[in-house]
């Protein structure tokens, strides 16, 4: 294979764009798992639910799926609140969050998948957007809008979440509950309420990530399971509870995948990506930017 600077540049761009998408998929896990210790295995199911909602509105009314996902994100927020409340009352309050809570979220994952199958059927769905088949070229470097637009919105979302967590009272309460819920309670803040709203935020980001997914590739109800490993890997690689870490971890995995696919063979990409994860954890168990 002839290795040119254009091939190298395209591999970098593709890796960064893919990483941006992975970041959007994983930022919710960074909150729920990284900060709240809630092992929400069902997170990809909410991503797929977001994809289907974006699909219905796009198919019926022609609205852009990403705009739709932002508009309906409050509904995902409310859904997240309800889900956390059930989880807290059923498991966390009784100290049974570890194994039974995990089983609860597995159940949610499969119920969501089956519900989508019953409502939408099993065929693959895609959306049509004005930019979906457009590629902007800068010389020999390609910028497919199908990936660029989700990347840009993902950056806004991830940076927005980070700024929210570090620059608002509630955001700092979320960071505090991750560190010491008892201390937070002693300061007069209800940690359960904080966790509820933080979890709801994580589900809202999943809904938006779902729109990115269906813009990028076809979606069918069972496809969420393919991303369970990836979203947790990004969260752990970046460092539990660190949004910047999640972003960095997503870029690392995206670039690893892109470079391996381009220069060594795509079948090696998962091995290289997860090899990097293992290597990072071996030398830095807290992740790239974890404490």
């Amino acid at each position: 294979m002839e290795v040119s600077w254009a091939l190298l540049a395209n591999a970098v761009i593709a890796g960064l764009l893919l990483g941006g998408f992975y970041a959007a998929m994983s930022v919710g896990i960074s909150i729920s798992f990284g900060m709240l210790d809630v092992v929400n295995i069902a997170h990809p199911a909410f991503i797929i639910l977001g994809s289907y909602i974006a699909y219905i509105v796009n198919d019926r009314f022609g609205f852009d799926p990403i705009v739709v996902s932002v508009v309906v994100s409050p509904l995902f927020f409310l859904l997240g609140m309800v889900l956390y409340r059930i989880y807290y009352i059923s498991f966390e309050r009784r100290g049974q969050e570890s194994l039974r809570g995990l089983a609860f979220f597995f159940g949610i994952l499969f119920i969501t998948e089956v519900a989508l199958v019953l409502v939408f059927g099993v065929d693959y769905r895609m959306v049509s957007t004005r930019y979906g088949d457009v590629t902007w070229r800068a010389g020999e470097v390609d910028f497919p809008m199908r990936l660029v637009v989700p990347f840009l919105v993902s950056m806004v979302m991830v940076i927005g979440v980070q700024l929210f967590l570090t620059h608002t009272f509630f955001g700092r309460a979320v960071l505090a509950v991750a560190q010491d819920p008892l201390a937070l309670r002693l300061m007069g803040v209800n940690p359960v309420r904080v966790k509820e709203l933080a979890f709801a935020l994580s589900i809202a980001t999943a809904g938006v990530a779902g729109a990115f997914l269906i813009v990028i590739q076809p979606v069918q109800p069972a496809i969420g399971r393919e991303f369970i490993g990836l979203v947790f890997a990004v969260c752990v690689l970046g460092g539990m509870g660190s949004i910047w870490g999640t972003l960095l971890g997503a870029f690392v995995l995206g670039l690893a995948e892109s470079f391996t696919s381009t220069f060594f063979g795509p079948s090696w990409a998962p091995a290289v990506s997860f090899g990097l994860l293992l290597a990072t954890l071996a030398f830095r168990p807290s992740g790239l930017l974890g404490r």
Binding site: G121, V122, T135
Partner: protein
Amino acid sequence: MLVVLSTLRRMLGALFIGLALAGAALAQQPLKIGFGMSLTGPLAGNGKAALIAMEIWRDDVNAKGGILGRRVEFVYYDDQTSPATVPSIYTKLLDVDKVDLVVSGYGTNVIAPAMPIMMQRNLTFMTLFGLNVNSKFNYDRYFQIMPAGPRPAIGWSQGFFDAAMGMNPKPKTIALVGADAEYPAMALEGAREHAKKTGLKIVYDKTYPPNTVDYSPIVRAIQATNPEVVFVASYPPDSAGMVRAANEVGLKTRMFGGGLVGPQFAALKTQLGPLLNGIVNYEFYVPDLGGRFPFLEQFLSKYQARAAKEGVDPLGFYLPPYAYAMMQVLEQAITATKGLDQAKLAEYIHKNTFDTYVGKVAFAKNGEWAAPRVMMTQYHGITGNDVEQFKKPGRLTVLSPKEYKTGDLKAPYHENKK
């Protein structure tokens, strides 16, 4: 003595009456056919379409009084497109549900894991769209309804390579790419053999994980090797990914396509729309040949009415006719042999030609079609994403086989994407 004879006569009479009643009871028992089918998972779209076709066959047969006077019933379970579920499904069908016959689910990945059970129990096994599954098992009661021919890995891409080598000047290089899964592995094996036979130099030969999100690095890597021909063996989501990536990267090659699963059915035809133009790919039915398969038209109108209600592939050009034909073969074999003896069924199927909705079907010694009939076609003139355009002639040129050819290949791919 007279008393003994009289008693004996009464006992024999009772025995005959009992046997007759038992026979009548058996005749009233349904004929249970068991199978796994992909009703969820990546290939569920096709699996559900196949199930509808099989149910249409069942209803048609029962409307005529069943088979051997017995009403046909299906017992089936969702294999979730997962090979791991298949052995337990078929064990349950045979040992718990006590089905009379079994047929396969859809696809190489779920047919192969069922083979050891079939071989262990000496069952005749009609299978639905598995590529080259029997090449390692060599089971003499295996039958495949996909028309890939006696050497399926070769027959599958024969038309593609015939079209490629028909170009002037002949191409010299080829790139091979496919998913890390059973079907693409078989298809690529056949493509490698074709490349060797035709003297094409393989400049790229790699596979990718099926859950790949972005295919543009793969297509760029292919482009960097400047192949004149690109052969792809992929499943629906990766078919969509490769086609989109080829357009985004601006892939320049003389011929592109070959073994993409997905563009045969409505979901991807409509979703990809004009992006398909110029691609050469396999199909099993095109509307341009409608007159050649009159019974198929009847079946399709029944299928399309049901598919619309169930949210499944509304065209039904790919799997459904062959799923129906598979059951027709089984029906004719049972009727001709007047029973369910597995050895007799297998022998009959091997020795005879069957009239089905997809035409005459005969099997080779290894259970594959005696002659290949995979159509290689080129998409053209697709505009927008409307499904109705695909129901009419004019969007596909059949390049091979000769008896179905409707036009010539337009090359290069990148200049014929309209």
